[in-house]
Amino acid sequence: MAGLARYLLLRALLIIPTVLILYTLVFVIMRVIPGDPVQAALGTRYVPPEQLELLRERHGLNDPLYVQYFEYLAGVVRFDFGESLVIEGRKIADDIKDRFPATLELTIASFIVSVGIGMATGILAAVRRGSKLDTAMRVYSIVAYTLFIPWLGSILIMIFSLWLGLLPTHGRLDPRISLEHKTGLYVLDAILTQNWVALKDALAHLVLPALTLGIVLSGAYTRLVRANLSEALVSDFVRAYRARGVRERRILLHALRNSLIPVVTMMGLQMAILLGGAVLTETTFSWPGMGSYLLEKVEARDYTAVQGVVVFFSFMVGLISLIVDAIYALIDPRIRY
């Protein structure tokens, strides 16, 4: 275990240079692209030149580049990603605090949907390999994988919201409902505060975005589970089990466990990507998460916000990769620490 601990510590330390490289890149890109960030954020609104100068001063844009670089870095260490260029006095860290739980909630829900559907369809396809069902599942995986999220989202909204009137079209909660925000994860908040009206509504709001994203992501799992399980089902140990008269269901369970390793790896990677915010899903459902936030900030030319979010993402991706590596190291003894 000491080896594992050392390995994990090393991996954790590797996050630092990763974040630093990414931050440096973003910092440089933000400053070499043409145009004045303050003027761009203001648009054509008239502001006298002397006041423009004051705004640049206030945002530290007149400081030498190295000062800007290290001051920001010092802030990042304290989880301070600077202040918005467009919304004066608004801290980027506060925005992340508000937006990240929405992304986390959607990630968890769509993760459950995608893994659920992906595993079920993959197992079915592998067990009935070569049958019509297998073909159907393979077609499903390709179709699901290539679906365009806004299109699928709109179709689901049309069916479940506009035609059947069962689910809301967008957002996280009916604005008429009050909910005390403890964690920012609305489903969890509703349970914690025993606000059952809010729980029902939050779940109803979660269904369509989670389903949309989940279906699209499930395609990859279907293929992966099918391929690995098919391979496991014809392996020597399965033949040995069969020869000993072990029941098929039990054999399947063993084979499945064996084929899960690459699936778990993919789960981790996918989670890392999802935590960066599912831009298309969030936009389609007006889901106030990190993806839609980044898009809004790019559109508003809020340079400091974009910079902050990218640095935050790099942290998240680093963290999730670390966890994936840890899982991988735990389950695959061939990994050397």
Partner: protein
């Protein structure tokens, strides 16, 4: 090597740990109620405040909670059954809920509903009428303005709103020097409270349209909780207008309830909820699903047509937004007045309105929009619309021919004004090239770069838009035509006669006299052509079929108090 069952247990264990860690991280990041932007007011008397480092005087009186003490457990989950609630959808965003720095259309609309100014616009007549001020007078030819305030105005927590609050708030704007502060600092030299209910402004120079300026948001008195030296982006203390902010979740919802101490007519609803959408499509679907009552800015022209066909109530609002071409007057071929006139003559605005904007805009023939006093269709009178023959004559006089074509560059920015911009540039090129004597090269650059190039005077011809800061012809003429104020446009236009007329119009207090000057300025504009007006925007509001009480102020702000669910 461990057994497979041990491996799977480890797997499950690690997966659970990951989820728990992430949930815990989210929980810790929220940091309880202290760092939330979700703010709620408990009762009017004990106004809750956002608690994020409330600086200076901003001491919270109660912790932010999500319910009012008077509410029953049932009410904490949904609104009371008899409540008249209106849900308004928008794709706009709120920037800062602070008049010291807010400088965008939608935030000004919200602030106009939760705050009140000394004067305001009558939504029916469009004239300036008293709001917090009951009477006012100009002295020393418009250099000194004295306002008498009403004595019954109060903030949402019952604190009286006096002359001291007006002075403190305006001084705060001057001290903070936020984006719109020039609306105060360019005009006001000194503001003082003569007594509890009298405010005296001493201006830097006499200003005839000062009342229009005073009607803008930076002049609104704010609650004493607003710190004197700092912008508070998520402030919910408000002012003494018809509403107070009950709940604010950035980019998700803003809940307004009537200010119980408001001196004016009581709102026709009990609650207004603003819902924020990431795009027009989700807003349209929410309207169709009955989740919102009103779809405000901005649905697409296609959505508006479809919704109208489905029986939704579509209301057209005359817009104050204008689009125009900036023409460089101090260098290159466009420094020749004949060339500029030819370009103006060849443009067919009707065609632009229909082909590019699908009829959602009106042709515009002056920089002052139609419907505003002093507006004259100067370009129509002088050049007509799409007058190719006149354009050819003018070009010939300037020395151009079909063999010796005028070569011009037209610049646009691809995303800032929406998807139609490249088409607008293409149609303009087509119209100019119809003369057979002009060759147009279209160029574009991204907004940040575009603005810089514009100010540096790098464009021969460029497309731009304008939304007014205050409702007066001055705001459509001075920033463009006065040589000391128009450097940002890069036109290089300077005409001492125009400068003189604009100064006279600024100083004069008599509207008839000012109108005379502005008409003269518009005539010179059509003669000199440093700008070519193109179209004037219209806005659309779509509501549920049976919805009533839609009222828009002359500044195009939705008046929430008249909305009837």
């Amino acid at each position: 090597m461990r057994s497979r069952s041990a491996q799977s247990k480890t797997l499950i264990g690690v997966a659970i740990i990951v989820i728990v860690i992430l949930a815990a991280a989210a929980f810790m990041m929220r940091g309880g109620e202290e760092t939330q932007t979700t703010t709620t007011q408990t009762t009017p008397q004990t106004q809750a405040t956002r608690t994020t480092e409330a600086p200076g005087a901003a001491k919270e009186e109660t912790q932010a909670t999500t319910t009012t003490p008077a509410q029953t457990p049932e009410e904490t989950q949904t609104q009371a059954p008899s409540e008249r609630v209106v849900v308004v959808g928008t794709t706009d965003k709120i920037t800062e809920l602070d008049p010291a720095n807010a400088y965008d259309f939608f935030t000004w609309e919200v602030l106009s509903n939760v705050m009140a100014g000394l004067v305001t616009y009558d939504p029916d007549t469009g004239e300036i009428v008293g709001d917090l001020a009951t009477e006012w007078k100009a002295e020393e030819n418009g250099k000194v303005w004295i306002f008498k305030l009403r004595t019954d105005a109060k903030f949402a927590d019952g604190t009286p709103c006096t002359a001291k609050d007006v002075v403190r708030s305006i001084e705060r704007v001057m001290q903070i020097q936020g984006d719109p502060s020039w609306l105060v600092t360019e005009f006001v030299d000194k503001v003082e409270a003569v007594d509890d209910y009298t405010v005296k402004f001493t201006l830097k120079q006499p200003t005839g349209y000062f009342l229009s300026v005073v009607a803008t948001v930076p002049y609104f008195p704010v609650h004493p909780n607003y710190p004197q030296d700092k912008i508070v982006a998520d402030a919910t203390w408000g002012g003494c207008g018809p509403y107070m902010i009950k709940e604010w979740v950035r980019d998700q919802k803003l809940v307004l309830v009537p200010n119980p101490y408001y001196y004016g007519e009581k709102p026709k609803n009990d609650k207004v909820i603003i819902r924020f959408f990431s795009d027009a499509n989700s807003m349209r679907l929410a309207l169709e699903n009955g989740e919102i009552d009103v779809a405000w800015r901005t649905l697409t022209p296609q959505d508006i047509t479809n919704l109208q066909q489905k029986g939704y109530n579509v209301v057209e609002v005359p817009g104050l937004f204008i689009r125009y071409v900036v023409v460089k007057t101090d260098a290159g071929p466009t420094s020749d007045k004949l060339v500029r006139q030819a370009l103006a003559a060849a443009i067919d605005r009707q065609e632009i309105a229909i082909r590019v904007f699908k009829g959602t805009v009106e042709p515009l023939y002056s920089m002052v929009p139609a419907g505003m006093w002093s507006h004259v269709d100067v370009f129509k009178t002088k050049y007509g619309d799409g007058n190719i023959e006149l354009a050819k004559q003018l070009l010939a006089q300037a020395g151009y021919s079909e063999d010796n074509k005028l070569k011009v560059e037209l610049w646009y920015t691809p995303t800032h004004y929406g998807d139609t911009e490249d088409e607008l540039a293409a149609v303009l090129k087509e119209q100019w090239e119809r003369t057979g004597m002009i060759e147009v090269e279209i160029k574009s650059s991204e907004w940040a770069q575009y603005v810089k190039q514009l100010g540096d005077g790098q464009f021969m011809l460029s497309l731009l838009g304008w939304y007014p800061d205050y409702l007066d012809p001055d705001n459509y003429l001075t920033p463009f035509l006065k040589s000391t104020a128009n450097s940002w446009t890069g036109t290089g236009y300077a005409n001492p006669t125009v400068d003189d007329l604009l100064t006279k119009a600024q100083v004069a207090t008599d509207q008839a006299e000012r109108e005379k000057y502005y008409i003269q300025v518009q005539e010179i504009l059509a003669e000199d052509v440093p700008f070519i007006p193109l179209v004037q925007g219209k806005l659309y509001i779509v509501t549920q079929p049976d919805f009533k009480g839609l009222k828009v102020s002359p500044l195009m702000f939705l008046i929430y108090s008249s909305l009837e669910p």
